[in-house]
């Protein structure tokens, strides 16, 4: 009986190489993965529906909100910016836009229309959301 001809690539080294490669990649990903937001810890999600219907109970509270910038409404002289932020809420049939004031301390942060962000916001006395912490999603 004729002996089956063995392939030229050795299986075991290949598998070991691939495993090493995966490990290296995983290490790299782990090293490069975004750090978990500390501001998100323990924060309640922003209740958009309740906010619209009765914001009085929300005033002074801080919420974790994730949404997409739909429009920059104003850009202040001190780099304070006013955005329209589209947020979703289970209580709403469709996303809603709310006003978001990004203080000048985030002046270096590049915020563009269409970008999504996770933010820690505070509801002020007039029903305006003020960004306290911002991170890009």
């Amino acid at each position: 009986m004729a002996r089956r001809r063995r392939s030229g690539i050795p299986l075991r080294p290949t598998l070991i190489g691939l495993a090493a490669l995966l490990l290296a990649g995983g290490a790299a990903w782990w090293q490069r993965r975004p750090a978990a937001e500390a501001f998100a810890v323990g924060s309640q999600p922003f209740p958009a529906g309740e906010f619209l219907e009765n914001f009085f109970g929300l005033r002074g509270n801080r919420y974790l909100v994730q949404g997409r910038i739909t429009e920059q409404l104003r850009y202040g002289a001190d780099r304070t910016r006013l955005f329209a932020l589209s947020v979703s809420d289970a209580a709403l049939a469709e996303p809603c836009e709310v006003g978001l004031l990004v203080p000048s301390q985030f002046g270096s942060l590049n915020i563009q229309t269409g970008q999504e962000f996770r933010m820690l916001v505070e509801v002020d006395q007039d029903g305006l959301l003020r960004a306290l912490e911002i991170s890009k999603s």
């Binding site: 104003r74 809603c96 836009e97 006003g99 004031l101």
Partner: protein, 635 residues
């Protein structure tokens, strides 16, 4: 003899009020009863009223049947007092009672007693006795008594004249005696013995004493004769004056009877006059050139005598008889106008004559309605009530075959045309807003025809126009105060007419219409958008204009209709506004953003977002609005 020229005298003679003032003009004498002229001349004597028998006689124009007297004109047939008397006569029963007949019999017997054909000649005493009885009847009005008094005056005159005649006769005898005595006293007296004359010698001349005595006696006789002559002449003059006075008074009574149309009394008095004054002097003692004299001479053409009056009275009686006969005939032929004229003429002349007084009421009733309506027609034309006049004319045309309606119809038509012309001018003036012209022409029209129905209608129109105009202006003020411009716009034709000529209101209306014009344009735009499927856009347009015109029905109606089609958008806008109004910029901004998501083309949302963004974060300069540190809002 034509009596028509005497009609005015007879007509005015029938006015009892004028009769006491009628004074006969005694020739050459003063008017009896006239006030004596004031003496001293300190107070200017008032000009005495001219007596009717002096210079102020009424004159008649037979052509026009107009009598002129004292500066006034009367139509003989239209004279109000006469018309009233004539109507009263027509309504009165016939004077056919026993008393009336007895009265007429007495007068007839009195006339016969004075007839020359009566056996024994005219008997004044019998006639006076009969007239004395007649004076007791009311219809006589004591005229027969007046006649008897005049007769008695003549009797007294005659008695006095007889006494004066006897006195003159006595005086004549006395004068004759005086003349004889004078003659005797101039010759040898029988009582004084003649002086002895020596024979062959001449008698001795009378002594101076004797001569003086003789002259004295002769002088006394002459003086007595002169006195007697003077007394005789005075007596004769007295008789002449008394006779003249008696005649004048009697003639005055005759004329009075004639002018009073008491022709039977006139005839009686004339015949008594001739019986009492048998000297044949029957001429009326009229003042030469006086109106009375002219009246008789110029109208009758005869010398004014008692006999002439007698004959004229008889002629009047005959004329009245003929007039009544003509009336009866014409009334039977239904020619009521002619019949009433003939009867009225007969009545004017012979109101107290038996033929007129005894006319049966049934016959008079035939023309009574015609006369009454004719009088109403005259009154209606007098007061210019041409509407009533026209109705009466139509009625008279149907009832009287011979009614001449041309004159009243002409008067009516003339008045109607003239009045209508002025009303038309007033209308033109009203259209031209010429108030003065309106007033003038209305006054003219009212003067011509006060009861003109067109005038009343025009006045009503003017009043209604004035009321309507005032009401329109009041309504306009009210609607402007209510900002109900849409109602003004809807009735703009009415208000445009009402404010015409009033600049203040014209400006108000113009401003309102311009405002409503804006609304109308917005409404039209909204309608077009709604038709194109953009109901939200249409709602926004209407919502915007509703701020200025919150009560505009058209806008509100459309808003209500469109609001049902866009509940989410409208809810978002409403909430955004509510929060914005309460200075809650943040939540308001969120609602505007929600509204824009619902209707991306929303002007309200766009403007709201811009406005709030500017408020939250001013674009130029200034820092963003600090967080409001205020107490929690309450819903």
């Amino acid at each position: 003899m034509n009596l028509r020229p005497l009609l005015p005298c007879l007509l005015f003679g029938c006015l009892p009020a004028t009769l006491p003032a009628q004074v006969f003009d005694a020739p050459g004498g003063t008017t009896p009863g006239a006030a004596p002229p004031a003496r001293g001349g300190a107070s200017a004597p008032a000009a005495p009223a001219k007596p009717i028998f002096g210079q102020e006689l009424p004159m008649l124009n037979p052509g026009s049947e107009v009598a002129s007297w004292n500066g006034q004109n009367w139509n003989v047939a239209d004279q109000r007092l006469f018309r009233a008397r004539f109507e009263k006569y027509l309504a009165a029963p016939a004077a056919t009672s026993t008393g009336d007949q007895a009265y007429r019999d007495l007068l007839l017997k009195a006339m016969k007693a004075l007839s020359p054909t009566q056996p024994g000649g005219p008997s004044v005493a019998q006639a006076v006795a009969l007239t004395g009885q007649a004076a007791d009847f009311p219809i006589d009005a004591r005229l027969c008594d007046s006649l008897n008094q005049a007769v008695y005056s003549v009797v007294l005159y005659k008695k006095n004249a007889k006494l004066l005649g006897e006195m003159n006769k006595s005086l004549a005898q006395k004068r004759k005696d005086e003349a004889w005595n004078l003659k005797i006293s101039g010759g040898p007296t029988t009582t004084t013995p003649a002086p002895q004359t020596p024979k062959g010698g001449t008698p001795p001349p009378p002594t101076a004493t004797q001569q003086a005595s003789e002259f004295s006696i002769a002088g006394n006789h002459i003086k007595n004769m002169v006195e007697i002559d003077a007394a005789r002449v005075a007596n004769a003059a007295k008789m002449t004056v008394a006779e003249l006075k008696a005649k004048v008074e009697f003639q005055a009574l005759i004329v009075q009877f004639f002018l009073q149309r008491r022709f039977e009394h006139c005839i009686l008095a004339s015949r008594l006059y001739r019986a009492l004054f048998e000297d044949g002097d029957a001429g009326l003692k009229l003042k030469e050139g006086s109106d009375v004299e002219k009246l008789f001479i110029q109208t009758t053409g005869v010398t004014p005598t008692v006999s002439a009056l007698d004959s004229m009275a008889s002629e009047a009686i005959r004329d009245v008889d003929e007039g009544v006969q003509a009336f009866v005939y014409l009334a039977e032929r239904q020619e009521l106008e002619s019949a009433s004229k003939r009867l009225s003429e007969a009545f004017v002349v012979g109101e107290y004559l038996p033929r007129v007084r005894t006319l049966a009421r049934e016959q008079k009733e035939k023309v009574q309605d015609f006369v009454r309506q004719g009088n109403q027609l005259i009154s209606a034309i007098d007061v210019k009530d041409y509407t009533l006049a026209e109705e009466i004319v139509e009625t008279l045309r149907k009832t009287a075959k011979d009614f001449d309606f041309s004159k009243p119809r002409a008067a009516i038509e003339t008045a109607r045309s003239a009045s209508g012309l002025h009303i038309q001018k007033a209308r033109s003036a009203a259209i031209a807003k010429d108030d003065q012209g309106v007033a003038d022409n209305i006054a003219q029209a009212a003067m011509i025809w006060p009861t003109n129905p067109d005038l009343k209608a025009f006045a009503t129109q003017v009043a209604a126009y004035g009321d309507m105009n005032s009401r329109v202006l009041n309504d306009l003020d009210t609607l402007i105060a209510q900002k109900n411009y849409r109602e003004i716009f809807r009735e703009q034709t009415k208000y445009a007419g009402g404010v015409l000529g009033k600049p203040e209101y014209e400006q108000k209306l113009k401003a309102v219409l311009e405002e409503v014009g804006k609304v109308e344009r917005v409404v039209m735009t909204a309608d077009e958008l709604a038709k194109a499927g953009d109901s939200t856009g249409a709602w926004e347009r209407l919502e915007e204009i509703a701020r200025d015109f919150p009560d505009d029905n058209e806008v509100n109606r459309r808003r209500a209709e469109l609001s049902r089609k866009n509940p989410n958008f409208i809810h978002a806008i409403t909430e955004a506004r509510r929060h914005e109004d309460n200075a809650r910029a943040g939540i308001s901004l969120s609602w505007y953003l929600r509204a824009r998501r619902a209707y991306p083309a929303s002007l309200f949302a766009k403007q709201g977002i811009e406005r709030l963004a500017d408020k939250i974060l001013p674009e130029k300069g200034g820092p963003p609005a600090p967080p409001a540190d205020k107490p929690a809002d309450k819903l």
